[in-house]
Amino acid sequence: MCNACGNPAVPGHWTEAGADTPGDRLRARFHRAGLLDKVLRPYGLTAHDGGVVPGIQLSTLSGNQSIVPDLSAVWAEAERLLGRPIDPLDPVFLHDD
């Protein structure tokens, strides 16, 4: 573990499993960030992963930014910013609009 930044604290977050080669890993990061961004937009949040620095960048529409290490941290940070957790079983996800 790097003393300065604490990366990586654990041997990979579980959501990052299933990609062995560097190419697969990078593809998965872009793909994940794209999907995440679509989920977060309606909540006034955006997600970006440039593939260079570790972690996912979250921003609010007012420009407030934070970098979080993994998806578990994304949901915790989103809950902090929104004041409530994003619940996939919330009715907004269960109806076609």
Binding site: W14, G18, A28, W75, P85, I86, D87, L89, L94
Partner: protein, 329 residues
């Protein structure tokens, strides 16, 4: 076993089960027949005086943690003991034989899920230890009565990867079937096997239509409904990244209601075994390819407080796929 595992981490088996269910008896016999190979055994007893340690002399190393259940009051002792093992192992030269396996026999009062959570939450231990499986021993004689009255008994079953029925020679086939159907209802993903004094016994396949007796609701799950299992088929249009995104959000929001999630999913790196206990996800493991992969892509969810059909809709929405709602087909 002489070679290290590819990722260099030790494998931990958690052995759980209710008080007096036969955990030590089973483990003693398994050590005798060499099921685990060279193994360090950690025995936890809730009482102050340990008895089990003398019975388990066949282990290559033994640690006794007495006076406190390792899922609650004795948790720090467990973490310290495991860290000690990691330390000793790290000091060995690379060409010496190093410890590969640990078996943790929990006290009968322990919730294996809480222990798994404690180990995975420790920043040192996650780098050294992979929790391989949770084996839960169930007393064939008293198991059903315990499940009817004890929330702990149900939590133990919910956390199991494998269920061992002990004392099967002491019950009649009809009540054994009742118990097995109940266990299947509580945890359909855990294979069942039988043992008498630790020695494996043949067990007939359970008829698919065997009815489980209704379990009375217990005080700790009164308002949120009963825990039920459901299966979610992940179709090919939803890849692992999308599924992991959705599941991580679901566990964050509903982790306390999702007792267990387990299944095998195809990924670019191979077949990935995924399992969670409440909010804790065990390190996913790549499985070797098998001939029969028909169960791949089916994930078992054991939990409460949601409608099973909502899982599929929500997952498709997260993955940006059409939800199938409102389509006239």
């Amino acid at each position: 076993m002489t070679t290290d595992f590819a990722d260099g981490r030790m494998r931990l088996t958690v052995l759980g089960g209710y008080l007096g269910s036969g955990k030590t008896t089973w483990l003693r016999h398994q050590l005798h027949v060499g099921r685990f190979g060279p193994v360090h055994v950690i025995v936890n007893e809730a009482a102050e005086t340990g008895v089990d340690d003398v019975l388990l002399a066949a282990a290559s190393g033994l640690t006794l943690l007495a006076g406190g259940c390792s899922c609650c009051t004795g948790r720090q002792d467990l973490i310290d003991a495991l860290r000690g093992l990691c330390d000793q192992r790290s000091r060995k030269a690379s060409d010496e034989q190093r410890l590969q396996r640990i078996v943790l026999e929990t006290s009968g009062l322990a919730d294996p899920g809480a222990i798994v959570a404690a180990i995975q939450g420790d920043p040192v231990l996650v780098n050294h230890i992979v929790i391989e499986q949770t084996i839960v021993v169930v007393d064939a004689l008293h198991g059903l009565a315990q499940l009817q009255t004890e929330p702990l008994g149900r939590r133990q079953i919910g956390a199991a990867d494998q269920v061992i029925l002990s004392k099967v020679d002491a019950v009649d086939p009809a009540s054994l079937t009742l118990l097995r159907a109940t266990l299947r209802a509580l945890n359909p993903s855990a294979p069942q096997s039988a043992a008498v004094l630790g020695a494996a016994q043949p067990l007939l396949d359970l008829a698919p239509d065997a009815q489980a007796p209704a379990l009375p609701p217990l005080s700790d799950d009164d308002t949120r409904g009963a825990i039920f299992p459901t299966r979610l088929k992940i179709d090919e249009s939803i890849d692992w990244s999308a599924f992991a995104l959705w599941l991580s959000a679901l566990l964050h929001a509903r982790g306390n209601d999702l007792v267990r999630v387990k299944g095998v999913l195809p990924t670019p790196a191979g077949r990935l075994l995924l399992q969670t206990v409440r909010k804790v996800v065990q390190s996913p493991e790549i499985l070797p390819a098998q001939e029969n992969q028909s169960e791949d892509g089916t994930i078992v969810f054991i939990g409460r407080g949601f409608r099973p059909e909502d899982l599929q809709t929500s997952l498709r929405r997260f993955a940006g796929r059409p939800t199938g709602l409102g389509q006239k087909t």
